[in-house]
Symmetry: C2
Subunit: 342 residues, 2 copies
DNA sequence: CCGAATCCTGAGAGCGCTCTCGGTATCGAA
DNA sequence: TTCGATACCGAGAGCGCTCTCAGGATTCGG
């Protein structure tokens, strides 16, 4: 591996000039720049990012902490973040922070601290005050997806509003007997998503003068099998059956639809179903949904940290930014059957 | 940020001793080690990995190149790789290498080369000879998932054998009219998976003396909607309808099942369906499948590169390793109906 | 035509570590 | 006692860059 010295020699200039020519910082005549570039490519030279980081203090790495990878929402975020980072010349260091406390503390105490990243993007991170403090103490730009999170700029859809929007859609269609299938709030990785979506559901019911009881709500796993199980449970008893279900996520909604189909319950004739996310499978199931774009949220989070990094003194304007979420109507929702129980 | 000097001062020892104490290399008395550790934690000191990398030449980073993130197979690999890397003290740098040639060449020419990673794990990477050469030229340990790939140790299930196993299962049940729904071989990211699974299908048919024609095979997108579309197409015409379908992946198989349900075709009574992967949703759909464990493959790939990194002179024994794949029987396959068309 | 501003380049210090090398202390075997 | 092996520690070189600083060349307005 050839070093900067070799390039300098070959180009007949000094190390300093090579550095300037290749990094684009400082004055270099175009003639010299060409010489240097030629020499560099002839030697297959490429700057050692370690050496350069050592003096500049910049690593050109951004750490991403994420609780799950293998789920549409999270996978999309990673894709968005990666794309945006590479485009700007940064590398992505991935930390999959599960509930596992051992690996967890390891990441916090060991990896993130080692001056390996310039900034951190934390995705739906449910962190303890200690952990938050240690993140902040790094003095590095941080952005969160989810939130709000004390002291950290975050962005997400307005979960309460989205849930209310979904519920209101059902109410507007004429439904009066609506149930909610949400996430299990015992699950760590939720950033209070579950409780907020439940809240929005309750708000909408309340505003419409509809009753809410324990019977109006079922918690389950946040995936298709979870929705399926909940669907089977809810729809099993014909007399209790609601005319509409608001699922807290499209995966859950799809599970509900599958359960309904299996029970011979027609969607939307016998049962309307709405979810949140606008998952790629929503189309296949004709699922009405509240759309959000996690990949875009990832890009925005990158913006947030990179801007802090590159424009001195800039700090994010709001502590929490709400990104848009809109109703996408498909065929899983309609007015309840005329003779439906109320 | 305090440096090693500060710790040395506070502990009353030299920089060299601090380095030894903290890195665990070389002789340090336990008394001294304690002093150093205390001083370090009191100061909140943590070694600069850049400075250390600069002299050791090791970054403790492993680059992972992967074509997709948001799919079960790939997401699981990332999870497995990440877990295994963190456990061993390495960080994961993620490069999502799509077909997009711009970002692609960027990763190859710019990122990977910059001495930022100690090793590379390439997942189902369909690379050009040039790209392969540039990877090898880095002189860094590489492992691939998929393959085989010239000059690079790889690991994967035996796709031909897995496909044959799936097909043989159908044949053994008595099916004679079997179709295959596979991936579109025009898609870049496939490492010839599609053609290999088709091959295994053909092999099995041939061995059983069953005919293969253009009609025996449909290519589609490698996901649930793709399987659904293919299913609709295949199952639409009752007279052409096979008694069994071998789908090249569980997502595709699930799509086929959904299509069948919609057409009122009973699985497995009217149609047997088998896939490959043992996807988490396979259970929900009762899908018989050939199981593989991508997360484990990820861990094995990590093993491969880390061992090369840490045990001098060690090189991977085989150029390509086959990992096991087994039949998992569920309820989507059975003997064909007695009066079924042959 | 002169001084100031601008452009271009090189010498060399130093980023924060690790590692070699040499020196001292300890200890068991000869 | 002597000697070699082993344990422990410090001084200082150097990893491969970037950046400051100083100096020379060039341009330009007055």
């Amino acid at each position: 591996m050839s070093g900067i010295e070799d390039v300098a020699l070959r180009a007949g200039v000094s190390k300093a000039t090579v550095s300037r020519a290749l990094s684009g910082r400082g004055y270099v005549s175009s003639v010299t720049r060409n010489k240097v570039e030629n020499a560099a490519s002839e030697l297959g030279y490429v700057v050692s990012s370690n050496a350069s980081s050592l003096v500049t203090g910049r690593t050109n790495n951004v750490g991403v902490i994420i609780p799950v990878i293998n789920q549409w929402f999270f996978g999309s975020i990673i894709e968005g973040v990666e794309r945006a980072l590479i485009e700007r010349g940064y590398d992505l260091m991935l930390y999959n922070l599960t509930k596992n406390t051992e690996a967890r503390s390891r990441v916090f105490e060991y990896f993130l601290v080692r001056k390996r990243v310039d900034a951190i993007i934390a995705v739906t991170l449910e962190i303890s005050p200690d952990e938050a403090a240690s993140l902040l103490a790094l003095g590095k730009p941080i952005a969160g997806i989810g939130g709000p999170l004390a002291g950290i700029p975050t962005l997400s859809i307005d979960d309460v509003a989205a849930a209310r929007l979904a519920t209101e859609h059902l109410i507007a269609l004429g439904h009066r007997n609506i149930m909610h299938v949400g996430g299990d709030s015992a699950e760590l990785m939720d950033f209070h998503v579950h409780s907020k979506r439940l809240q929005g559901f309750m708000d909408a019911l309340g505003a419409a003068g509809l009753p809410f009881s324990d019977e109006s709500y079922v918690a389950t796993h946040f995936d298709i099998p979870g929705g399926y199980a909940a669907g089977k449970q809810i729809l099993g008893d014909p007399r209790r059956r609601p005319t509409a279900i608001f699922a807290a996520a499209d995966e859950v909604a799809i599970g509900v639809i599958l359960a309904a189909r299996e029970l011979g319950i027609s969607v939307p004739d016998d049962l309307s179903v709405i979810g949140i996310d606008n998952h790629p499978l929503a189309d296949l199931f004709g699922l009405t949904s509240i759309a959000q774009k996690p990949a875009k949220q990832g890009e925005q989070a990158v913006d947030l940290v990179i801007r802090q990094l590159e424009t001195a003194g800039w700090t994010p304007p709001n502590i929490h930014t709400t990104v848009p979420a809109q109703l996408v109507m498909r065929s899983s929702t309609s007015a309840p059957r005329a003779g439906a129980p109320r």
